[in-house]
């Protein structure tokens, strides 16, 4: 394992805590009915997005799902613009039109925020195809859940990426459930790297509750993708601590299972390790955490102070220039 210096440790911890505090706040705001619609939080899975993002450059492209706040933050999209989006404000990164499930940011090459399971996979192939045709030195990373593996689009995209030697990093956020359906009830073979290899795609599993393990796995994967211009598949094993969305009565899993996983919470686990190995000081956590909470509060204030898009603009951007149909 590479050695971790304090700056890096601080950075990783900060990024995870920013997501954690952000997500906790969104739940609060949901209960206050300031955020509406579907809300899917990333609590428990923070190490995945944070770990993977460390391996990317700003030229790389990213696609994610409806559970994408963490990715947006870890990618560097300003928290206030993400929070404003959650509240449907015009200052949000998608002008408030997308909400929780549709974070977009062109500047950060963040291509959404798609809420159709599996639909980002062919898009990733296409972005990588464009890069490949233009001989642009960049890769595309697509995040998707274990549930998406059952979709036909997964199969089609994996084959295309492998067949055409495209620089795609497939990041499966394997939290062992797609809504209430356990992986073993959704897949005849639950070892996901086996599936990837059946397309000739190199694959590895990593402990998604360990930000360093993810970071390392991603670094290796990205190196391979860049060097060989071939896809790579990461099975990042993690767990969502909360329900699927705010509506989930969680009938399908036991309290005990959830508690077991919570003992592997990536944030205290990493913090404790860094402190016990002397990389971080015991006081660092509180300091980083309160900065994160402050950032969240600022973001909320920004979002709350934001404006609503004018109703007259409803039809703007159905098409790029003017809306032609009558």
């Amino acid at each position: 394992m590479t050695t971790i210096d304090a700056a890096l440790a601080r950075h990783l911890l900060r990024e995870m805590l920013r997501i954690r505090r952000f997500e906790e706040k969104t739940i609060e705001l949901y209960q206050q009915e300031k955020i509406r619609g579907f809300l899917h939080v990333y609590i428990g899975e923070e190490a995945v997005a944070v770990g993977v993002m460390q391996a990317l450059t700003r030229d790389d492209s990213i696609l994610a799902t409806y559970r994408e706040h963490g990715h947006a933050l870890a990618r560097g999209i300003p928290m206030r613009s993400v929070m404003a989006e959650m509240l449907g404000k015009a200052e949000g990164c998608s002008r408030g039109r997308g909400g929780s499930m549709h974070i977009f940011d062109a500047h950060h090459r963040f291509y959404g925020g798609s809420a159709i399971v599996g639909s980002g996979l062919p898009l990733a192939v296409g972005l990588a195809l464009a890069d490949s045709l233009k001989q642009r030195n960049a890769i595309t990373v697509v995040f998707f859940g274990d549930g998406a593996v059952a979709e036909g689009e997964f199969h089609e995209a994996m084959n295309l990426a492998a067949l055409w030697h495209l620089p795609v990093l497939f990041c499966c956020e394997n939290n062992f459930y797609g809504m209430g359906t356990a992986l073993h009830r959704a897949q005849s073979v639950t070892d996901l790297p086996t599936k990837a290899r059946s397309y000739g795609i190199q694959a590895a599993s990593a402990d998604g509750m360990d930000v360093l393990a993810v970071r390392e796995a991603a670094a290796t994967a990205v190196r391979e993708v860049r060097a060989a211009a071939r896809p790579y598949f990461l099975d990042l094993q993690t767990y969502r601590f909360r329900g699927h969305s705010m509506f989930d009565p969680e009938l399908y899993r036991s309290r005990a299972e959830v508690e077991d996983w919570k003992r592997r919470d990536p944030i205290p686990r990493f913090a404790e390790r860094m402190v016990s190995t002397g990389v971080l000081a015991a006081t660092d956590y509180a300091e980083i955490d309160s900065a994160a909470m402050e950032e969240v509060e600022e973001a909320v204030a920004f979002a709350e102070a934001g404006s609503l898009e004018r109703v007259e603009d409803l039809s703007r951007f159905v098409y790029s220039e003017t809306d032609d149909e009558q």
């Binding site: 509406r36 619609g37 579907f38 449907g88 404000k89 408030g96 039109r97 997308g98 909400g99 929780s100 499930m101 549709h102 798609s114 809420a115 159709i116 399971v117 599996g118 549930g147 998406a148 059952a150 979709e151 036909g152 797609g178 809504m179 209430g180 359906t181 356990a182 009830r185 959704a186 897949q187 699927h244 989930d248 009565p249 009938l251 399908y252 609503l308 898009e309 109703v311 409803l314 039809s315 159905v318 149909e325």
Partner: protein, 331 residues
């Protein structure tokens, strides 16, 4: 969920659940298949408790494979079963459209009458819950374009309870669209409930100045609009289509013959929605009886945005219906 001895209030959700449950009790060929219908209890909680009652052979949780499990439903129907396929929402149903358009709708005709496919496919439809552009389509009118399938849209609790058994008796594919905003609505389930036809429209309110024609999730709004119109001195008749394919042209024309004016309310996007077919049929058959051009109140032609104010602006609203009706009456 006792049997139907007493009249009682029930939610639309409970009515659908009871319909499924009674069908399964009555006919062991019936089973429910779809994403999260079992352990999760259904994404809109419709099938909660059914797994416990019927076990995993009859309440079948599937992987996220819409084309796969919908096709499997068709195949099981060909194999003698009576599957109820649940697709979580119509937004995802397009992933299974090949099986609906190219198989379910063609098999009987193309095989010269040999293979009918007695499958029921249920799905949630509609907007209004701030679910944004990928979770807010209303595709029932679009599906109604396809010959070979039937498309029904229960709008009341009683229809939610009693159209399903008829759909299951139907020898051909029936698609049921349940508006997501109806699940929590309450209504009366009469004690003497019995299966109802799935092909005719109903007059939900009598009136003589104008016919308001609608279906599904827009029925409550339209009834409210009729109340408001009454307060403003306009007597509106409200037609609930119930079925979009076949379309009960008779009931529509009878109403128009009485009122001579019509507004269609349709949560689909305006252009090319089922509203246009209704208006076209009226113009073809009752052109000279119309006192004014037919009006329509539909969804704006935009992907539905997330924020409440924009979503509301995109969807048909009660006051918009009132305004359009007044304009049509004044025309």
């Amino acid at each position: 969920m006792s049997s139907d001895r007493e009249p009682r209030q029930a939610t639309y959700r409970a009515a659908v659940r009871e319909a499924i449950r009674q069908a399964m009790l009555a006919d062991e060929r019936v089973f429910l298949i779809g994403e999260d219908v079992g352990r999760y209890g259904g994404s809109y909680a419709v099938s909660k408790g059914l797994l416990e009652e019927f076990g995993p052979n009859r309440i079948i949780d599937t992987p996220i494979s819409e084309s796969g499990f919908t096709g499997a439903g068709l195949g099981a129907a060909l194999g003698g079963m009576r599957p109820i396929v649940e697709i979580m929402t119509c937004n995802f149903s397009v992933l299974a459209l090949d099986q609906v358009l190219n198989t379910a709708a063609t098999w009987l005709h193309m095989s010269g009458g040999q293979f009918n496919i007695p499958v029921v496919i249920r799905m949630a439809t509609g907007a209004g819950l701030q679910l944004a552009a990928q979770h807010s389509h209303s595709l029932e009118g679009w599906y109604a374009h396809i010959p070979g399938i039937k498309v029904i849209t229960p709008a009341t609790v009683a229809d939610a309870r009693w159209m399903l058994p008829t759909a299951l008796e139907d020898p051909d594919p029936v698609l049921i669209f349940e508006h997501a905003r109806l699940y929590n609505t309450e209504g009366e389930l009469p004690a003497d409930g019995a299966p109802v036809d799935i092909e005719t429209a109903r007059v939900r309110r009598r009136g003589h100045d104008i016919s308001l024609i609608t279906y599904g999730g827009s029925l409550p709004k339209t009834l409210e609009a009729a109340d408001e119109l009454a307060a403003r001195g306009v007597s509106a008749e409200v037609i609930d289509l119930r079925s979009l394919r076949p379309l009960d042209t008779r009931t529509i024309l009878d109403s128009v013959a009485r009122t001579h004016r019509v507004v269609v309310i349709d949560e689909g996007w305006r252009s090319g929605g089922i509203n246009a077919e209704i208006i076209t049929r009226i113009c073809a058959a009752a052109f000279h009886e119309l006192a004014a051009p037919p009006g329509r109140v539909c969804t704006e032609e935009v992907p539905i945005p997330y924020p409440h104010h924009l979503e509301e602006a995109a969807l048909p609203q009660m006051l918009e219906i009132v305004k359009q009706a007044e304009a049509t009456v004044a025309a």
